[in-house]
Amino acid sequence: MTSRRIRIDVPALTRVEGEGSLRLEVSNGQLIELGLSIFEPPRYFEKFLEGREAKEVVDIVARICGICPVAYQISALSALESLSQQTASPWVQQMRRAFYCGEWLQSHSLHIHLLALPDFLGFDNAIAMAEQYPDEVKRGLKLQGLGNALIRLFGGRSVHPVGARLGGFHHAPAPEEVATLVAKLKEARDDARELTQFCAGLPLPDDPQEFICVALHHPDRYAMECGEIRTSTGLTLSADQFEQHFHETHKPDSTALWSDLDGQPYLTGPLARLNINHAQLPDFLQARFGEIGLQLPSNNMFHSLIARALEIELSLHEAIQLLHEYESPEASYTVLPLESGVGCGMSEAPRGLLWHRYQLDENGLIKAARIVPPTSQNQARIEADLHRSLTAFGLDNDEDSLRLRAEQVIRNYDPCISCATHFLTLIKDEK
């Protein structure tokens, strides 16, 4: 028997958002060390929010991420508005969902085309892939552009939008502007359908495994901007109950916090959503499962790619439904007086569950804030997946193959490391 010892260091993970690294050591066919390290500097956003007025929060949290600012805004608004006796108008609630559709559309399109597809088509990056697959990349950029346009419609700009506010939006879009965009969204439905079929036709690895799914669920629709937590273990939780079951801990080598559900790693994100909520997708998407041969629930993390494509189709469909008979509202927001106390809120960011909690004092200032982003929730699951998937893949594979498979596994979660890096408490040591 020959002894084989290999060590793989990926000092900077590519095609993920933010900066992280991976360390693997295999000895005599056993994985003896595996470490996913996140080393982007923590950004202390929760501490920045203390002492701020409640109305400022929505613009500050939009700065946490350039890819999913809408999710941060909607989760924050949901948490803060829970401290009011009144609620935002039905128009506002519908338009927030349309706003959110823009974010799913742009983020998923970016991930599929520029970050994930090169893995499955055999290229180092999207630029090299574009030479052989220009139409596919253009399709991705078109869909991403439409998502950005939808965010701009309500947010004023697509990166770090500024249009949302407590009780609604600063301004309502003009009907002509909405009609123009709806026409473009309708035209893109064929592109989205082709994308799903394209993704389903890729040689995705067959890699079944057991994992717990966590996603928001809404009784009337596929949960996106609101809902209650459902888990594949049978829990149903309100935002206020989140901390009773979900816990965060620090780990060495990581500036992000690691989450568990009652001590277990869990999955949040598109595949968890699809597994829990697929029955609520519209009929044409139910039919799509049969067309592409997708069995749900799926226990193959590589089906995350298909889940994102299906959610692109859903986002287009939902945005069209919400906007095709759009009329200017009497008011684009409702003044919502907030009471002091603790408010919790959550929504489904493109990468998964995003939970916020704010403590508001009697003067209307933020006394404490806590934000739990999806990537930090998925970290324990990613490590567990890497252990299992690399062993199943075969630790006797060469280093390049192991490295590529490890990166593919990580990219299945579309981690946004920039979002994940934060600390709960800041200890200031002055001497």
Partner: protein
């Protein structure tokens, strides 16, 4: 006899609110206070990633300004770059798909504007929550004046072919 609509031109700055990474934005803010031809549009974006490709469509020329971190020049110099040089510099884009990757993708897809000029302003390492340094602010003001003069002359003469003759200044 057909008449063509006037060609549009764009000066677009990318950056972030972090310290000297605002360099390009400061150029745009300065130019917005100037009397410029109507065909010239000014825009700044916060780390747009591949959305930049869509933003550049429809313009006869685009001047793209970004902050660059380089040890070759002190903070406050502006440089004319080509795509290769851009890729060599440490771009201040925070995400994996930065400016040089975006432009390389646009080139691969044949979606670069007919005329593209890249200008970099050398900066210190950007710091969250800080204002731009005096050196970078002064460079942005000087570059804004230079660009304004060039566009006033070039568009007034019916084209922008003469733009971008200098390679560096401080």
């Amino acid at each position: 006899m057909s008449t063509h609509p006037p060609q549009k031109h764009l000066v677009l700055a990318v950056g972030s609110p972090s310290g000297d990474d605002q360099a390009g934005w400061l150029v745009i803010e300065q130019m917005r206070q100037m009397d410029l031809p109507l065909q010239l549009q000014l825009l700044y974006m916060d780390r747009p990633g591949p959305a930049l490709i869509e933003q550049m469509q429809g313009y006869a020329s685009v001047t793209l300004i970004d902050a660059i971190y380089t040890e070759q020049y002190p903070p406050g110099c502006w440089l004319k770059l080509n795509l290769f040089q851009l890729a060599q510099h440490d771009s201040c884009s925070s995400h994996g798909f930065g400016l040089s990757e975006t432009l390389a993708l646009a080139q691969q897809l044949d979606q670069l504007p007919p005329k593209l000029r890249l200008l970099g302003i050398s900066i210190c390492k950007p710091a969250v929550g800080e204002n731009a340094s005096e050196d970078v602010t002064s460079a942005a003001q000087a570059l804004a004046q230079r660009l304004a003069r060039e566009y006033q002359t070039a568009i007034g003469n019916g084209g922008v072919g003469s733009l971008g003759s200098s390679s560096s200044s401080s």
